[in-house]
């Protein structure tokens, strides 16, 4: 009897590991920045390059930083979700236009609509590196003390909003 049960148990264990592995996304690398202060930056604004946007000025409120670009394909998938979130006025969304030409970024927002309170231009991608950005779009939820509480890798979906982001935002806003 043992002759057959042992290989069967080994097989089932292996099959179990492989099944779990199927559901994991190797492109989702956990960020070491969770629960760490959001890296400070000061960048020119996309619409008004004469003005700067400083992350320091955001202390005292919960906000979302969405890294996007006109060349980013998945951002198109995400865009309607951000538009509907912006209309609900729950949490301000700030954009970081990552490694993009200004004209292209402006064109994209004028065509698809602008969900952002404002966008900052990260022309050479240095702020992106500070935030550990490796695949656009990425979205950070930052609390009143300026601590990163959540990072969404890849497009924000209605599901991730409902299950993770909005409950977290509500909790952080109460504090």
């Amino acid at each position: 009897m043992m002759r057959f049960t042992l290989p069967l148990v080994v097989f089932l264990a292996l099959a179990g590991f492989l099944y779990v592995g199927l559901g994991l996304d190797p492109h989702e690398v956990p960020s070491p920045l969770i629960d760490k202060p959001a890296p400070a930056f000061n960048l020119p604004q996309l619409h008004d390059t004469g003005k700067n946007f400083s992350s320091e000025g955001m202390k005292g409120q919960v906000w979302m930083l969405n890294v996007w670009a006109s060349w980013c394909v998945s951002c198109r998938e995400e865009h309607p979700v951000l538009m509907s979130l912006a209309q609900q006025n729950i949490v301000p969304i700030y954009g970081l236009d990552y490694k993009d030409k200004r004209e292209d970024g402006l064109m994209w927002l004028s065509q698809g609509g602008n969900p952002y309170t404002l966008s900052a231009m990260d022309r050479d991608g240095r702020v992106g590196i500070d935030y550990g950005v490796y695949g656009v779009p990425e979205t950070y939820v930052i609390d009143k003390q300026g601590i990163i509480r959540y990072k969404q890798i890849g497009p924000v979906t209605h599901q991730s909003l409902r299950e993770k982001i909005l409950p977290l935002v509500a909790e952080l806003q109460k504090k």
């Binding site: 190797p26 492109h27 690398v29 956990p30 960020s31 070491p32 920045l33 490694k99 050479d124 991608g125 240095r126 992106g128 590196i129 500070d130 935030y131 550990g132 950005v133 490796y134 695949g135």
Partner: protein, 153 residues
Amino acid sequence: MKKLLILMICLLPTLTYGGEAKDMAADPVLEKRMIGLAENLRCLVCQNESLASSHAELAEDLRREVREQMAQGKDDQEIIDYLVARYGDFVLYKPPVKSYTVLLWFGPFALLLIGAGVLVYQLRKRRQLVQESELSPEAQQRAASLLNQEENK
């Protein structure tokens, strides 16, 4: 005249020597050091390529960052810490020994030990089987008498 011409043709290369090809990077020593470090770091975009060989735009930016920090006089460990702080242990091809990497580091040895244990157990069991098949004195007598019968026929 012909000999002179051949001689001139043979000497032509000495005149046309144009010097060695210039290195692309401003500082070849630093570039070599950068590549050496980047070979041990993983590109996050194309995850099976090192930071040194990847053509992803992020890898180019990170190589630029590493180059700049080396020029500022930072040592390799400081640069590795800088990248790990932003991208996590994932950028390291050789992950550090931590509570959640214990299985990764020592799992294969544990499997080897288990395998050796099973082998020893099986070999012992087999030896027991052989020993058990030894005949009791009565059976031996019977066997001997049966064999004698055969011979007497």
